[in-house]
């Protein structure tokens, strides 16, 4: 990763400008060419330094529903429960966290009803009651990792 890669990563986290020729606008800003930037971006995605490039949607505004939920999973069953959740397409993320509540996952569904159904299904599958913590207010969303 060289200096141009780093500047491109930092700049692209802030968003592509919505102008007629976005790559030319960025090329001007970063003192490069649009072809060079597209090549670099392709490499960074291929290489896994970037996981995605594209529109970041707020799915709730498009009619979807989200929640964050947690389970307290007995250690002996941890892997099995992780696999059960991994198999569910509505489970978008799942993290182990060092706490009594050791499994934290995000559900993404079409509706609030589908979220409730999904939580019940997890309860039936695992025998564990999820702690449901839907967000009530958003104060900030904006991942920015300067390199």
């Amino acid at each position: 990763m060289d200096d141009l890669d780093r500047r491109l990563i930092n700049r692209l986290q802030l968003g592509l400008p919505l102008v007629r020729q976005p790559w030319q606008a960025l090329a001007l800003e970063l003192d490069s060419s649009s072809a060079e930037l597209l090549d670099r971006l392709h490499e960074l995605l291929n290489d896994g330094v970037l996981t995605r490039f594209g529109p970041m949607f707020d799915v709730e505004r498009l009619g979807g529903a989200f929640t964050l939920a947690a389970l307290a999973v007995p250690e002996a069953r941890f892997e099995a429960v992780a696999e059960q959740l991994a198999a569910m397409p509505e489970v978008a993320h799942n993290y182990r966290r060092e706490h009594h509540l050791n499994m934290w996952f995000v559900l993404a569904c079409a509706s609030e009803q589908a979220i409730r159904d999904s939580l019940l299904r997890i309860e039936r599958l695992t025998g564990l009651v999820p702690l449901n913590l839907p967000k009530e207010e958003t104060y900030h969303v904006g991942l920015y990792f300067p390199v």
Partner: protein, 178 residues
Amino acid sequence: MSACISPSEPSLQAPPPLRETSLARRLVELTQEGLPLLEDPWAWLAEQLGLSVESTLDLLKRLQAEGAIRRIAAVPNHYRLGYRHNGMTVWDVVDADMPRLGSLLGAQPFVSHCYRRPRKPGWRYNLFAMVHGRSREEIDSYRDHLRYLLGDACVADDMLVSSRILKKTGLRLSSLSR
């Protein structure tokens, strides 16, 4: 991942004009895996949506202004960039002060997400702020700084450090359309 997705064969008849929400959903489907790395991405989108390039750009600007699209951006693999530590800091704060405190924590550069969430039996924390850093010490110091910012308005707090990613997929529209 392919370098570029070539535009599909132009259809003989343009699709009927769709309402904006349907257009937005179509846009989600089209760009779920990402925006093609093309010199003129708007022309590609325009063709897929059956709109002019100008209308496509206007649609994107409208969706961005409304917040349906946060931005068209790169998502880094933060582990690969050295940000291997993340902590979900959780705070039990006075409800009446929540708007001010939530905005205060959310404004810190090392906080990626900040939300109000409900208290539940056995769960007292109502304010969540996710912090990321390159070391355990770094995220510990962020937590200390947030605690200092909250001062007396905070009754109790904790930080749940992530030790393993069990699943991470982007959002799939299929799970939203069932």
